[in-house]
Symmetry: C2
Subunit: 450 residues, 2 copies
């Protein structure tokens, strides 16, 4: 291996920039054993503390992408567009969004992740549907996409295997929190599919990994630039994550809410954000669609296009077509689509404990982070990757920011397996009750394009 | 393991200071497998880039020390004092110094190292004596010390095994160059023996690891403070390493010079430095000696003591007693002491190539680093720990700084196995010849005490 592993490590340790060939040698060496785990973890720590330039991040993403199969779905299943969220509290958006966008003619080949820390995981939520299998092989993935238009699977060893190995190492070596490593990890998995476009939901606020607008913007710009440079048109929305999204936190509870959204019956905030993300996905898909389908409208302004995209999404919800696509997707993954009509088929917790308002007023804020902590204590999340989760438990919000409450009103229900030891007080403290209505919440803070 | 490995790593990554219990947990966890190689290398990189405080360095040294046997030789073989050099070019001083000091009544239980990079290794030099075994077990080490008063051995797994494992990891993970890690590594091995005192020869200059006085002083102070805090009185001399020490670079060649020094026939610079280091060792040994032997002189000033120590050392050289101790030590290590009378029993290179002065003048400097590079190219040193060395080859200096030369004079001889491909030009360029004599060289720049 030229340069040697130690030369690569000391170069980054001393704050120098790697050439693209060096980054490729690093990843290739790691995959073929010429560079060991303990050398990679030392390099990762040096990269975290010294930082990686955008060129280095791009080279790393490309090398990780190149470590496995590249499906190039855009060649045969165009238009196909994926969405990625950096993780929030109550963020079940992927689940209704994928079938909704597919119902509008843009395929959604989604490679999703699991819950970790205070954020939920799309795969864990889907697995609360009896029978749903997230571990499809590449061939079955293509088949579901062709038939339903949307498929949500977990990362497989076929796609960007270097990311799996590097992530496992980062997880146990204190090197998760590097923006460049996060960018390479997200994009190598997503771009391995071969998309016409990618929409990023970069969460910002106390319930997100990025707590300040500055850090969220940096990450969004970094992601958009690297993905675009690698040939995938990408748009990022920076969205608010101070408040939990929708009215449920917890796996089966979030499937219920997803079904409600697809019925046109969901909470206003999660529904609105799905429509905003869906617009972006349709616009990216349309830009890539064949002339006969989309180029005729090329003279129309962007605003006109966006309005038409929104109208198509709303129609897909209202007509029930989005829900139909969801049912097909669930069935093709081996899941029981009967849960759509009978939500009681989903796992249910033994008890519902009511958390009451201690005073009258208007709810001025609901702390997403605190409720995530409540959900973890109930068993809905993981602190470590090897922890198991309980799909039935979680928090059901009956009141949200801006709602009026009387003393003794139910603020939320804790779905729990045990009557004792539930974090009632913590849940209560998550709700701040004031005298006056709070200002309007900006759901989307910013839109970042390449 | 509480705190968890990842918690320890992220704490150092974020620039926080560890408590002593955390450092102990780190080392214990590493030794018992609760903390893996890839976690340790990530921590080492974080420690290198974030730095360790003096308290942390002390705790690390103590934990590494505690990972193995602690011999406490000072209980049974008092007074015993060791010397450590941070490594220079032509630095064979340990070899004549140990028997010389032992001949004056202070035992020298020396755990030495091997050549790496541009610096030589005491063990490699000793092994050029046919039969000399550096791998004595603890029992034999004590026996040689009791009988000869001095023994030079390699690190064993019994003493500070954590240092061996951590050093092996540092060597391949780009984490050698951390001052705190260097301090802990040096002292854990040295103090495991249980000394009455320790003398440090911290080299400074172009032929040393520490190239600036500032960095050398920092390292010396750090070493002295940590060793003293751990209960071993310690003195450091910061000595010049711009010029090679003595007249030989190369393993068997340096044994020849060592014998010459012990005969009172050595080069002025290496002999003088041995006397300076010997003084410090005798003073530390005397301070610890029993009242009957040393305390009666407690009223005498330090200068008087130093003069008396010097006189004893000079007498041990002149009387031949130091050489006798050396012969006994070599024999007890299984080595052929006949090399003292017949140096031709040492390995000899096939050829001697003369490097000539291109002009007349006075030698204004000899570049230690350049000659170290020449010696490595001849095969006398190692670039990597697994490289093998040739004991016979090296550089023999016929001229040193300050010497007058005529055009065509022999500056040095390359002892080499091959007539072709020897680095003659590089050797020639190491000698700078000027019109005027250079200023006096300060052999000892500074003395640092606790």
């Amino acid at each position: 291996m030229r340069p040697s592993p130690t030369e690569l490590i000391t170069k980054k340790r001393d704050g120098q920039e790697h050439g693209p060939g060096e980054i490729a040698a690093l990843v290739t060496g790691f995959m073929n054993g010429a560079l060991t785990d303990y050398q990679m973890s030392a390099w990762l720590m040096a990269a975290l503390l010294r930082g990686l330039s955008e060129r280095e991040t791009l080279a790393l993403t490309e090398a990780m992408l190149g470590s496995g199969k590249q499906l190039e779905l855009r060649r045969t299943l165009s238009p196909c567009v994926d969405k990625h969220s950096t993780g929030g509290v109550g963020d079940k958006l992927s689940i209704p969004l994928a079938p909704l966008v597919a119902a509008c003619g843009v395929r959604v080949p989604m490679v999703a992740g699991r819950s970790l820390g205070h954020t939920g995981g799309t795969l864990d939520k889907l697995e609360s549907i009896p029978g749903y299998d997230v571990r499809l092989d590449v061939q079955s993935f293509r088949k579901v996409l062709r038939s339903a238009g949307a498929s949500i699977i977990g990362a497989t060893d076929a796609l960007a295997p270097a990311d799996r190995r590097i992530y496992a190492l980062r997880d146990v070596s204190g090197t998760v929190e590097s923006q460049s490593l996060i960018v390479a990890s997200i994009l190598s998995k997503k771009l391995a599919v071969g998309l016409n476009g990618l929409v990023l939901d970069v969460k910002c606020g106390r319930g997100a990994f990025m707590q300040t607008p500055k850090r969220a913007r940096e990450l969004a710009q970094n992601l958009v630039r690297v993905a675009t440079a690698l040939g995938t048109p990408t748009v990022a929305l920076i969205t608010n994550m101070d408040e939990p999204l929708g009215t449920s936190i917890g796996n089966a509870l979030e499937i219920r809410e997803s079904i409600a959204i697809l019925r046109g019956d969901g909470p206003p905030d999660s529904t609105e954000l799905i429509l905003r993300l869906g617009e972006e996905m349709l616009l990216l898909g349309e830009a890539e669609a064949k002339p006969a389908r989309g180029r005729a409208r090329a003279d129309a302004g962007r605003k006109g296009k966006r309005q038409r995209a929104r109208a198509r999404l709303e129609e897909a919800l209202a007509s029930g077509r989005a829900l139909e696509v969801f049912a097909r997707m669930v069935a093709l993954h081996g899941g029981n689509a009967g849960v759509i009509e009978k939500p009681e088929l989903l796992p249910q917790a033994r008890h519902r404990l009511a958390v009451l308002a201690q005073q009258a007023g208007v709810i001025s804020s609901v702390d997403a982070r605190a409720l995530a902590e409540v959900a973890i204590r109930l068993g809905a999340g993981r602190l470590r990757t090897q922890d198991s989760i309980d799909p039935a438990v979680g928090v059901e919000l009956l009141k949200k920011r801006g709602d009026k409450v009387a003393r003794g009103d139910v603020l939320c229900l804790l779905h729990t397996q045990s009557k004792t030891g539930s974090p009632l007080a913590l849940a209560q403290q998550a709700f701040e009750i004031g005298a006056h209505p709070p200002g309007a919440l900006r759901l989307v803070r910013e839109r970042i394009t390449g």
